[in-house]
């Protein structure tokens, strides 16, 4: 059973998506329209322009199955099997090396701030 609140909140999400896409295209920003929509919605929630209860029903429903929606873009990998066969090494090494770099850089930066805060207090 789909409730009216769910339909209204889904329409609100589509509205923010549309505005985000319009801003991305209109201002020639290279940031994806859906991310701009997300930023706008976050700002509206933080400033209490919009109550989180208004968007929660559809948001929670979509997010509980979000993985389903990026299966088809992932299946498109079958178009690039030749490319992957040729470039598997830089791909794999890039993933592993960069994962390590991000883990360590973020952890060290966060610990630096933690120590600074401990000294100050």
């Amino acid at each position: 059973m789909i409730r009216k609140e769910t339909v209204v909140s889904f329409a609100l999400l589509l509205l923010f998506l549309g505005v985000g896409n319009a801003i991305s295209l209109g201002l020639h920003l290279r940031v994806p329209g859906n991310v701009i929509g997300m930023i706008l919605l976050t700002v509206c929630l933080l400033t209490k322009v919009l109550d989180v209860k208004r968007v929660e029903p559809a948001a929670d429903m979509l997010l509980s199955e979000i993985g389903l929606f990026f299966v088809p873009p992932g299946v498109a990998v079958m178009l690039y099997f030749d490319l992957i066969a040729k470039q598997w090494f830089p791909l794999l090494a890039g993933v592993v090396g960069s994962l390590l770099a991000v883990l360590w850089a973020t952890a060290l930066a966060a610990r630096l701030f933690e120590k600074k805060e401990a000294r100050e207090s």
């Binding site: 859906n34 991310v35 976050t42 929630l45 933080l46 389903l68 929606f69 990026f70 873009p73 498109a76």
Partner: protein
């Protein structure tokens, strides 16, 4: 080619059906590392290749499901807002730490790929590999990458980070729960966050924050940073 495979319902029913089975398998296995997205993609690839069904046929229905990615990314504002309310006081140090990780991630992915003989296309596709998949796919489209290669790299990153993240962080002597959680979420998005949640409540919460902020920072910075590396 069989006409029925070109009907949108074919792709939709195949994807949703396998997705339900994959979620059940993950639930039974009880480990976040059996990523249902990876399982579903692998099973669909098997079906399409064995039955000689072209991607275009599958994607008639596939693109209907993929359309919902747009409102879902907008919907990420809800968990993001809930977390921001909790970390308001520490927002600046957290933001800077994640930004450090984000820029390191872009630079190291592009640099390593190019250094090891990868093409420009591969390097670009790899650059948002630490970002949560729905956002990474949008970024990849925007910067001229191959979204499906990006999705594969993102999922692989998540699984490796979920498997080894906490151990790799301990390797450099960092023990702080706060730093560990933030680093795992920044590096390995949702799949890493599932592991961080099992390490502890603080790790899980910080990992979620790292994931959201890195998605946001990378989406805004990457299109403008990339020309510096290429």
């Amino acid at each position: 080619m069989e006409q029925w495979a070109y009907h949108p319902w074919f792709g939709i029913i195949l994807t949703v059906g396998i997705w339900i089975v994959a979620r059940w398998i993950r639930h039974r296995a009880g480990t976040p590392l059996l990523d249902p997205v990876m399982l579903t993609i692998a099973a669909i690839l098997g079906v399409l290749l064995l039955a000689h069904i072209p991607f275009d046929a599958y994607n008639r229905g596939g693109q209907v499901l993929a359309f919902l990615l747009g409102p879902s990314v907008v919907a990420l504002a809800v968990p993001f807002y809930r977390r921001l309310e909790k970390i308001k006081r520490n927002l600046v140090p957290i933001l800077i730490s994640v930004a450090v990780g984000s820029i390191t991630g872009i630079g190291s992915a592009v640099g390593l790929a190019l250094l090891l003989g990868g093409s420009r296309e591969i390097a670009v596709s790899l650059s948002p590999k630490s970002v949560t998949t729905p956002i990474a796919i949008g970024i990849s489209q925007e910067i001229g990458g191959l979204p499906s290669i990006t999705a594969a790299a993102v999922i692989l990153t998540g699984i490796l980070g979920g498997m080894l993240g906490p151990e790799l962080i301990r390797l450099i002597g960092v023990r702080s729960q706060f730093a560990t959680g933030l680093a795992i979420g920044t590096a390995a998005h949702g799949i890493g966050t599932a592991r961080a949640l099992r390490e502890g409540e603080l790790e899980g919460a910080m990992s979620g924050v790292g994931m959201m902020l890195n998605g946001l920072i990378t989406a805004v910075l990457l299109p403008y940073l990339l020309p510096l590396f290429l």
